[in-house]
């Protein structure tokens, strides 16, 4: 079979699965007065369509910021505005000011789901296809297998098509950036990444690796001359892209300031709900939020995040290769997820994207992490009534990625890049590493399965109503932390693969 037909079959399969998930319920369906993210997105369409741009981010009589006020950067707002135009043509009731609040109907659901699919087809999916075809090693069959697994990652599908969000857009832009950097087009890559940043501020999780990679490259090319020229070009591109996105808000400094204030809500606390990061997991032992004041919480998390990001960024700065870039993306986003302030459970998708990039290089660990990341959002999916799609897509992803990438056969010490571990842990008796890792994997999958079944089937004891979500988030946290340590060690050990470096030089 030809490559193009296999690629199109994979993409179509990805579309079918996405649409199959989207037939299910969404967040806050039929739950007044606040509904959920679905209503938030619809409300932004309503606001951006009906109000002048100057009022979008301000609390006015027509714009109640306490009811899903816009809190994403301008590109999101523009996207909502475009969608609202289409909505207006189809049915004006959908975006009517005030009156359309909590609007729900099957046709409207179809419209909203279609907007997600269109955005995905335009931005995310092409980037995935190109990445897998041009930036992964191996035979074309191997590439196609990676592509299929990449496209079928359940976490993103369930959040975008089940829960309802547009993560595909920001992640897609970031992926375009990574793709361009991998192909050596640094300037267009930084532009794509600026767009991602302007769509969702959470893309800052990826910003440091981008910065360090490009900076390191410039330094390597000679701080004067070519390197400086490249730096100037990149800086100019980034500034121009930002200026373009923020153009309407720049006329008045108070406007821009208000947008920034909306985007970074410092007042919302160290963490919300049950999120699988350090603070929430630590909370079961120590009640940090009652011990420390709000400000010191902020500084503590800032300091921790900074310390956690530092090693991988430094390493990338000195060794700006694409392989290190990918690893640094994982490390940085995981560090932010684990330690930073005000993290949502869905932010794990930002770490999942770079891990997807490693599906081809480190299949077992990548699959393991991706599975854990989907699992960490279980309480959210259960709340949204996405039980069946969660079970189906997770099982399918687990089975097919293991089978297609033959992950369980590729876990020797060398293939897992674990040489450094043995040096670190020289005092332990020598064991068959592949076997140990495999067993750890089996046990971890079994634990996740049991916890999933328990949270679905059992009623928690009355004095511990949050028992299962806490168990889920703590388990997921352990996985994430383990992965974080692992990837840091891998980044500091010598890259044994030749190809990923060759491609870069």
């Amino acid at each position: 079979m030809k490559t193009w037909s296999l690629v199109s079959i994979c993409v179509l399969l990805g579309v079918v699965v996405r649409w199959g998930v989207s037939l299910n319920s969404y967040s806050g369906a039929g739950k007044p007065p606040m509904f959920g993210d679905y209503e938030a997105q619809r409300h932004w369409q309503e606001v951006t369509y009906n109000l002048p741009l100057q009022e979008w981010y301000f609390n006015t009589t027509d714009n109640d910021l306490n009811y899903w006020g816009l809190d994403y950067p301008p590109l999101t707002a523009y996207h909502s505005w475009i969608c609202a135009y289409v909505a207006k043509i189809i049915n004006p009731d959908w975006v009517e000011l005030h009156k359309s609040r909590g609007y729900e109907s099957p046709t409207h659901k179809l419209f909203m789901r279609t907007t997600v699919l269109v955005a995905d087809l335009l931005i995310y999916i092409p980037a995935v296809v190109l990445y897998c075809l041009y930036l992964t090693d191996g035979s074309s069959k191997k590439k196609i297998s990676t592509l299929l697994c990449f496209l079928l990652y359940p976490g993103l599908i369930l959040t975008d098509y089940g829960h309802f969000q547009y993560n595909g857009v920001s992640l897609g832009f970031a992926l375009w950036g990574i793709l361009a950097l991998g192909l050596g087009w640094d300037v267009s890559g930084s532009m794509a990444f600026s767009l991602a940043l302007n769509y969702k501020q959470m893309e800052l999780y990826h910003a440091l690796p981008f910065f360090c990679y490009l900076m390191g490259k410039c330094i390597k090319a000679g701080p004067m001359g070519r390197g400086l020229f490249l730096l100037v070009r990149i800086a100019a591109t980034v500034l121009a892209t930002f200026a373009l996105c923020w153009l309407p808000f720049l006329s008045d400094p108070s406007q821009a300031l208000q947008v920034v204030r909306r985007i970074f809500p410092v007042a919302r606390g160290l963490f919300e709900d049950k999120v699988a990061n350090t603070w929430c997991s630590l909370n079961t032992l120590i009640k940090i939020r009652s011990i420390l004041s709000g400000d010191s919480q902020l500084y503590l998390s800032l300091a921790c995040t900074f310390l956690a990001v530092l090693p991988s960024s430094f390493r990338l700065l000195t060794k700006p290769t694409f392989w290190h870039f990918k690893l640094a993306l994982v490390n940085s986003s995981l560090a932010f997820f684990l330690f930073s302030y005000q993290v949502h459970e869905k932010s794990i998708l930002l770490a999942a994207l770079p891990v997807c990039l490693l599906l081809n290089d480190l299949p077992l660990i990548a699959i393991w992490f991706l599975q854990a990341s989907t699992f960490s959002m279980l309480p959210l999916f259960l709340k949204d009534g996405l039980l069946v799609p969660y079970v189906v897509t997770s099982l399918a992803f687990l089975f097919f990625s293991l089978y297609l990438l033959s992950a369980l056969d590729h876990c020797s010490e060398d293939e897992l890049r674990m040489g450094a571990y043995n040096k670190l842990l020289f005092f332990l008796p020598k064991m068959d590493l592949a076997c140990v890792v495999r067993w750890k994997f089996y046990i971890s999958v079994a634990v996740m399965a049991v916890l999933s079944i328990v949270s679905i089937a059992l009623v928690p004891p009355p004095h511990l109503p949050d028992l299962f979500p806490v168990l889920v988030s703590t388990t997921a946290f352990l996985h994430f932390f383990g992965t974080f340590v692992y990837f840091n060690v891998v980044q500091f050990s010598e890259p044994p693969s030749r190809k990923s470096q060759k491609k870069n030089n």
């Binding site: 649409w19 199959g20 037939l23 069946v388 399918a396």
Partner: protein, 527 residues
């Protein structure tokens, strides 16, 4: 060719993958067939056997043969653990989430029969030597064509029916016959031959008592078994040797068929309900064509009639007031009067059908070409009945598509016919899913299946042009038409265009298949 084909790990992977996909469609649109089957669950669960074929609280009365009723009876015992309310006959249009879940899962789980049958079929195909790549192996291609069949996916798992399980029985029975051929060279020929033929016959008898639509292919079975099983030897030139007739074998065959039918219909004959059951099974009060015309000869016939009528009025040969007024595809008017051409009666369609399959049946009687000859005859019977039958459903085209997959992976010539037939046949299923929500699913699945089947330059230019025309029809019907002013005045126009356009392709494939069969007659024994 005696060795059975090795089925790698890919077969379970394909089967598992498609089963996961089916689970995603649990919340998709389902047609009234969902309520039909829920009602049957309720009838068989809550009423005594004697009432099964008399019950008519719901308009969807039990109209499948008794074994299927027993199948529903068995399902209902599982269903009561999901939601007892679905088992009450008075609960019309009951579709609670757990009812939906149960019914959908019952289809997915009974598909295990289909998966098993597909596996058996994959083991019978002839492998080319030297092709290493899994993706190009005929058995892999066949597994995809069967398991991931577009028509079956949307008809069973979105529209809602139990075809997968029924086709499983059919394919299993076909596989039994194919295995006879592949094991000819072994030593224990006669005993093995016997048991495989008899197993095939038994399975088919059961199938007939599950759903009587498979009567379409019964002639092929009858003649083939009589010719190749009851006569043990042929003359040198392949013609029949009358002396080799084995009454014992006929007796064995007959007793199997009779006992299955007795088991199924016996209780109703004993209760004196046979006429009632039969009137439910064969409702000839329905019209020549289903509400949405199946792409067959009668679709072309109807259009020709309509065209002539319009032409006649234009040329002032006919009075408009004299013409019978009926909306042909409205679904309300069951009896449709042709205005210019002769009206078609049920017996006329029966004669046409019999005439159309006669050459095929005669050919396997005169020159049996082994199990593949039988399969070819089965296809022609299925397509012949589809082309000329009374009140044919568009879904019936699957009876030809699925068995043709087996032939298609073995020869390029058959693959060509397969491409035309599946693409048109599958496209003609599009109107089944008319809800906009399911549109992306049907389009993507259809494209997936079609892209997979089109592997090389097999088709002739004209065929390519015809199939590309489908894209034009699809865009016209699904995108342009809803926006055009005709939407209000002629709502049935897209259905009409679809069935007429597709019927051309189906007719063409039917003729090509016949040509293939008759060509083979000249060179028997060549495979």
């Amino acid at each position: 060719m005696a060795a059975r084909v090795d089925i790698g790990f890919w077969f379970p992977a394909l089967a598992l993958g498609v089963s996961f996909l089916k689970c995603l469609f649990i919340n998709a649109y389902h047609s009234t067939d969902f309520e039909v089957h829920r009602n049957w669950l309720a009838i068989t669960h809550s009423l005594p056997v004697s009432r099964w074929y008399h019950e008519n609280t719901s308009e969807w009365t039990l109209d499948y043969p008794p074994l299927f009723a027993w199948f529903e009876f068995g399902l209902s015992h599982v269903a009561q653990h999901f939601d007892r309310n679905m088992l009450q006959v008075e609960n019309l249009n009951y579709a609670s989430p757990s009812t939906v879940l149960f019914q959908r899962l019952s289809v997915i789980f009974t598909d295990v029969v289909f998966i098993y049958a597909a596996k058996e079929c994959c083991r019978c195909v002839q492998e080319q030597k030297g092709s290493r790549d899994v993706l190009n192996r005929p058995s892999f291609v066949l597994a995809v064509l069967l398991l991931w069949n577009f028509g079956l996916l949307i008809v069973d798992h979105i529209h809602f029916q139990y075809n997968g399980f029924l086709f499983g029985v059919l394919l299993l029975s076909v596989a039994k016959h194919l295995q006879v051929q592949t094991s000819v060279s072994s030593d224990f020929v006669s005993t093995k031959l016997c048991s495989q033929h008899l197993q095939g016959a038994l399975l088919f008898a059961i199938l007939l008592n599950l759903k009587h639509i498979y009567l379409y292919v019964a002639p092929a079975y009858g003649i083939y078994l009589l010719r190749s099983y009851c006569f043990t030897q042929d003359n040198k030139d392949g013609s029949i040797r009358w002396m080799s007739f084995s009454p014992l074998r006929l007796l064995a065959l007959g007793s199997i068929v009779v006992s299955v039918c007795a088991l199924s219909f016996g209780p109703f004959i004993a209760m004196g309900q046979l006429p009632q059951v039969l009137s439910r099974l064969f409702p000839f009060k329905r019209g020549l064509c289903h509400a949405y015309w199946a792409p067959n000869i009668w679709a072309l016939y109807n259009v020709l009639d309509k065209g002539l009528a319009v032409l006649g009025v234009r040329l002032k040969l006919l009075e408009e007031a004299e013409l019978p007024r009926a909306s042909m595809t409205g679904g309300l008017v069951q009896e449709f009067q042709h205005s210019v051409l002769l009206s078609v009666s049920p017996s006329a369609t029966l004669v046409c059908t019999l005439l159309s399959i006669l050459p095929a049946v005669a050919s396997i009687w005169l020159r049996p070409c082994g199990a593949r000859g039988f399969l070819r005859c089965l296809l022609l019977c299925a397509l012949g009945s589809f082309m000329f039958g009374w009140h044919v459903h568009e879904k019936a085209v699957l009876i030809a598509i699925l068995p043709l997959s087996i032939l298609a992976v073995e020869s390029r010539e058959d693959a060509r016919i397969f491409l035309v037939l599946t693409t048109t046949g599958h496209y003609s299923l599009f109107p089944l899913l008319f809800t906009p929500t399911e549109r992306p699913v049907k389009v993507s699945l259809m494209l997936m299946f079609t892209i997979f089947s089109f592997t090389g330059p097999l088709l002739r230019p004209l065929e390519v042009v015809y199939l590309l025309g489908l894209v034009v029809v699809a865009i016209a019907c699904e995108v342009v038409f809803p926006l055009s002013p005709w939407q209000q005045r002629l709502p049935f126009l897209p259905l009409l265009a679809t069935s007429v356009y597709c019927s051309v392709g189906v007719c063409y494939s039917f003729l090509r298949l016949y040509v293939r069969l008759l060509q083979r007659d000249d060179k028997p024994k060549q495979l």
